[in-house]
Subunit: 251 residues, 4 copies
């Protein structure tokens, strides 16, 4: 837990990546935060503990993020994670590490844009009122995973809300389908991943019932849109032990 009036000491993992650079700049502009370590491939994680980082922000890759998390939690450093690829199995492992370090906080968020967080909140709220729902996410063609982490998380949230409301499966008479046309099925929800030059990061949740539809659409036009959410998470995680999924509870 940080002292009053002292800036929070922050390290950044993946500091030379596109998101990492933006995070470093944003921390430097914030009076209540101090950037104490910039770490990337080939650097020692110990740089973070040597610099007495209280929080580490991780924008790395799915293949190294679990090792990073394990090491930080062991060191008693809280973590804000923007890296994707968190399956239920991975989340369970993080929880087991945190059980042994009850004072450490970890925030793992699929999306740090305030609009995306609200989109997920609204999708959860709307789910029980509509028989039909599908997710269409749209990203630049350099993205390697489909669907996006945000879409996966949204589908999971909607699936849980439908189950809690006793809604059955989404109506669909399709019997003659060219393979893939109807998208991926995530927790019972159809998800479509569009990739195109010109796009950045976009998602639409389409709800439908008799005679009407409701669309929730979020558009991220540049990485600056994620910075307010990253700051919010850094400031919250130092006083929030345990695992937090998404920024919804921090708003």
């Amino acid at each position: 837990m940080t002292q009053e009036n002292e800036p929070i000491r922050v390290g950044v993992l993946g500091a030379r990546g596109r998101m990492g650079q933006e995070v470093c700049k944003t921390i430097n502009r914030s009076d209540d935060l101090e950037l104490v370590a910039m770490i990337d491939q080939g650097d020692w994680l110990f740089n973070a503990s040597d610099a007495a980082a209280e929080v580490v922000v991780d924008f790395t890759t799915p293949d190294v993020v679990m090792d990073n998390l394990h090491w930080c939690i062991d060191q008693g450093i809280s973590v804000v994670v923007g890296t994707s690829g968190f399956t239920p199995t991975r989340l369970d492992r993080v929880k087991s590490w945190l059980d042994k370090k009850p004072e450490v906080g970890v925030v793992i968020a699929p999306n740090f844009a305030i609009g995306a967080v609200l989109m997920m909140e609204f999708a959860e709220r709307a789910a029980k009122y509509f028989e039909s729902v599908e997710i269409i996410e749209q990203h630049h063609p350099a993205k390697v995973d489909a669907p996006s982490g945000t879409a996966l998380r949204t589908a999971q949230i909607i699936g849980e809300a439908r189950a809690a409301a006793g809604l059955g499966i989404v109506p669909d008479a399709t019997k003659d389908e060219v393979s893939g046309a109807r998208g991926a099925t995530i927790d019972g929800i159809r998800v479509h991943s569009v990739r195109s030059m010109g796009l950045v990061a976009h998602q639409e949740v389409l709800f439908g019932t008799q005679g009407e539809t409701l669309k929730l659409r979020h558009d991220s036009f540049d990485r600056s849109s994620f910075m307010p959410g990253v700051l919010l998470a850094i400031r919250a995680v130092v006083n929030r032990p345990g695992l937090t999924i998404g920024l919804g509870d921090l708003l």
Copy 2:
């Protein structure tokens, strides 16, 4: 207040209009409701009291709705109102009538579609997180009023939420404007009314902040979309004395 297991006795004002006909059909299909009076231009309002209507549904026009409401409240009949044109002055008059009949309930809703109700709820929730917000409503070209009642109500809700959050005016550097280009200003919010053949009833609320936008869009494709909300309001109003604006609190 209605007895258990007895159907609610309902009268419809404007019963020969497009919405009124749909309401009558919907009531006839509902086991817990009984259609006891169908009243339109040239018919006596007393038909509703003679038939012992407990609730009257009013889809008439702005020039007669106030007389209808006054009469119903005097008779002790609760009312569900879908007619548009309710200014703050009109609402104050309805409240003053209800003060003398504390057991009577009135629900006045700008829109009975569940998606529209949620759109307004979400707009209120999102308002404080975005510096920018505008409303674009789109309707068929036979509509006589612009903006729509739903857009006016949404603007009012957003304006109040911004004021409560201490947000200032929406940023806008426009200094060279062809008259009307920037829309109407309702409670500080710009509202644009699009009219086109092929359209039915649509509204988009656009929120924006640094690097991102969030859109809430509702599309009504036919009048059937309003019926679940009308039923909800009829069933609620018999046990809900006083004035209720919008369906938000009934969900």
Copy 3:
């Protein structure tokens, strides 16, 4: 070929279906057309020839449409076809039948809405300027085929235009995909089929290049939107021997 000033004699196959009924009503309202035969399951095709139909409109099903076409062409009756399911193989068979009856005309259109026809024309025109393109079609959940016939035809048109312009494959770095997320691949173009209550018939073609996107979107809200195109095809086919695919050339 029809005589001047005499109405064109039209028969309708699938006359009791939803589209068929609308077509019959539309023909009845047109002074230059005469509805001479309404035929559906269980009726004799000979009713059309007995009534001296010059044109037959076919809105039936993929399993009977080929027999209908063969019979009409044999009888020397021109045909306007709105039934879906026309593969290249089927089109070749229709051509071979027409070779023996050079005076007969057949128009097969995946979509009779003017907006859909223009959407396809514009998609063909835009294709060579954008590295990326995907199709998202959205329909009511009672639809049995995915993608829609219009989407298949649009993909084919775009694929051909890209090939003619020497464009390579659409850029896509996806390597970690939940099966189906990236849609169906039709002639090299990704197609996504969304199904939801509240929807009618909608399609969006998304083009993208560096820093910009262009979207062409068509929305059909009811079957009346197809009638002007059906009339156009009926009037054209009597003077247009051979096979015509789509309404594009008739505009």
Copy 4:
């Protein structure tokens, strides 16, 4: 007229502005172009003629662009203009200057993005098929003019196409309007200007007829989207004497 294989000598006016800087970088990366003069406020226009510029690109402001154009035409230098504010009166003056210098070319374009150029071409083509049409343009809130130059040009194109097709006024029953709700009227077409943080430069043209709508939407996410069009215009203008409005004819 430029010699074969020699790079075209280009000067840039407004070279220190946001668009100007991007144009300079783009010219520097192009083998067939040579950047010979970068001119901004306080610099001499003669720098362009001293450097033997064959083409000048002008991204300045409406208050200086006419003087720039007059000077360039007098000097026999062709011009590509991206500055906005060209009224019919201004265009007539440019034409009168060109009459005296028949070998000089001027291209004035409201938008250099290929998607915007196609949007305008398609809008012109579609106009005669739809009774209803409206334009909704959306930009960042730092924009000073409303509607945008692109929207004004699109409205003009559509207005002319409707007149040529004998279409009357757009249907609109509005009689109770909050001032501005129905937008600005440009050549008979309603134009709505939305301003919001998070937006860059976007425009939608909505066409409607019975039961259907067709939407053409262009989104520019960053200034890089304009560069291919600027290059196209530079290369074309050296061999294209006289005044050319828009890039449509250069595609």
